[in-house]
Assembly symmetry: C4
Homo-oligomer: 226 residues x 4
Amino acid sequence: MHSLSKRALCEGLGTGLLTTAVVGSGIMAERLAGGNAAIALLANTIATGAGLIALILTFGPISGAHLNPAVTVSMALKRVIMWPPAAAYIVAQFAGGIAGTLLAHVMFAIPLFSVSHHQRAGVPQLISEFVATFGLLVVIWAAVRANDSILLIAVSVAMYITAAYWFTSSTSFANPAVTVARSITDTFSGIRPVDAPGFIAAQILGALAATILCTWLFRLPPVQCS
Amino acid sequence: MHSLSKRALCEGLGTGLLTTAVVGSGIMAERLAGGNAAIALLANTIATGAGLIALILTFGPISGAHLNPAVTVSMALKRVIMWPPAAAYIVAQFAGGIAGTLLAHVMFAIPLFSVSHHQRAGVPQLISEFVATFGLLVVIWAAVRANDSILLIAVSVAMYITAAYWFTSSTSFANPAVTVARSITDTFSGIRPVDAPGFIAAQILGALAATILCTWLFRLPPVQCS
Amino acid sequence: MHSLSKRALCEGLGTGLLTTAVVGSGIMAERLAGGNAAIALLANTIATGAGLIALILTFGPISGAHLNPAVTVSMALKRVIMWPPAAAYIVAQFAGGIAGTLLAHVMFAIPLFSVSHHQRAGVPQLISEFVATFGLLVVIWAAVRANDSILLIAVSVAMYITAAYWFTSSTSFANPAVTVARSITDTFSGIRPVDAPGFIAAQILGALAATILCTWLFRLPPVQCS
Amino acid sequence: MHSLSKRALCEGLGTGLLTTAVVGSGIMAERLAGGNAAIALLANTIATGAGLIALILTFGPISGAHLNPAVTVSMALKRVIMWPPAAAYIVAQFAGGIAGTLLAHVMFAIPLFSVSHHQRAGVPQLISEFVATFGLLVVIWAAVRANDSILLIAVSVAMYITAAYWFTSSTSFANPAVTVARSITDTFSGIRPVDAPGFIAAQILGALAATILCTWLFRLPPVQCS
């Protein structure tokens, strides 16, 4: 077991690079796509899915590669992780996500901070975030229960998100830290700050619903705290 | 072994999310593609293939992840599953599929029910469905015979469907439950209700033909009923 | 070990479905792509790569899934397979390939036979076929030497062909049986019959060169005939 | 253990084919894409990622499949490889890269040598190369530390580069040998010779920074020289 500081650093670094992949590829895709939003989202999807596989394989053996406060909360509820380290993970994820957006801005020569004007609101999109995060947690808990290898976990999560980018109207943020990080970029992947709290609430509710379902469905055993 | 109710629930949940992936990504793809049907089908293909990998890895260890009445019938014919649980699986698959379409409609703010006007008819398309389902069952029986891991099964099936979306003129529904579910959406992935029975008949015939071929070709052993 | 008739049947069925994937997805892609050849080739590439993974995983444990006379000849030269069964494989591959094109025509409602008018000629394209087949055999021999699992073989071959579709000017036929089968379709993936012999000669030369290199490079052990 | 001459040959052959994949697919993509740069980069990305998987699986068991002087330098700094063989690797990588560009030119009927006029300059692009190579080395060291199989290493590296093509403004060269090789092609993937030294310096700095971080983060053990 690595020290908590190293594990939290990995969560920050991983969530940061994930956010850079999402925001950066969105900027690149929009610049090149000549106005065809489907091509832009396809490039954004491929970069995100590929990035997730690489990041989960890289950081999974150290920190578990949650890279997502909704995942960490669900894990803490089932005592896969204790609450104090969970809190450290979550702080690192939010900080890393914001740093990831800033890094994307630096690499694409965009002003460091910008407030998104991309409206993402309405009940259908909130339901989308609930469904997206619910599905993500079902995928993850099934993998944890089956004692899957890190390769299977990485592939499951990345393929799920790849699909969910397209089958939800919100393009599946499904991650509170990345949602906050995407509110400070006025680019392809941005979200208005005013829309972020609703997204995050829907994500947390989806994660809670999945945790309850999986506890019953997968007969999750009582878990030892690390 | 999980209880039948949990296994059937997994079949329903899995078939539902698969249908949501197919229908939802079709809606998103058509909205964004600016009229280029190849880009729309490419996005639809990637979302379906990725979703299949995630869903088979997630539900495979519980229910076997048939997610398809044609698969369940073939498995029951070879007594991999007994007929009573097979019937429960099939009911859950049809119900899940319909629920999956409705969920996609909710997320994309479309009226809950709509009848498809997408004509998919003619002998070439029926032959396509026969071939698509025949090939799918050959892929699955080869994997079962080789005692493949769930990763290999998931990859085989998803890659097969990814290819079949493009090499058949019907885009390979290859699944009676998903065919019914796609008849109640007047969007990219829809099929007119009047065309659905022919598709389903061709799918069942294709599955039967593959089951007969594989019994001889792969020397399928007599299977114990669970 | 399965009987030769079953193994040859698998080679025919596998090469046939591979050809159907190549030709069929080419027809679908060209119909939908609205004149953008890059999008059409991208769809053709994805269908071919995905199909290869599914087919190698399916038929690999039975026949070895050569699906390609250039591979079978190289294997026979190194006595991985004896010449009489190799001859049966090759006959099955050519017959399967032609049947695969006809099946694609039936599914897309095209006249059963048509002669391709797609010119693919000139020294750069011949060098492309030499390089493509040379690289394919290096990839395969490295996998055989490392005693790779069928998953690794399938992934190596499919990813190699995915790349080679784009990095050669001929789009990497790299397969004499598929080359003949593509000469009788006047669609996206076709090749003029007059251009086929040159392609096939270049492919055989590339396979021979790779076999010689790999014998030295990978210290291939003497192989027992089955 | 293979002889150094064979291992260096594999590094040259692998880096050469990687460069051919990058440069050749860039030429093909630009020719077909009809001016849509996003589609061209998508094809270029898929060919590069797929090629990386095939090449690492092929040459990994022989030479380690560094295929990149920045990787070899980092490995030598941690004494995974001694400096004399590292020097041989690096010479082979640069020679192979240049040969790979020439081969692409031959296959696409382009004059053998051409000087790129593609400007890639400015601090944001230099930071991009630093970040791209830093991330690549973190991915690789994490895999080495976890004693990952060659499949996991190939998937990690290929998926990372697939993402990085899109999330950096430089499209992630991240490889000094490939950078030099891309300076002698006036095509899609080219880079002006005057811009190459800055890219290479940024890549080396990124590799060094990652090596230092990983030494602490992953508690890299002292490594025996081979």
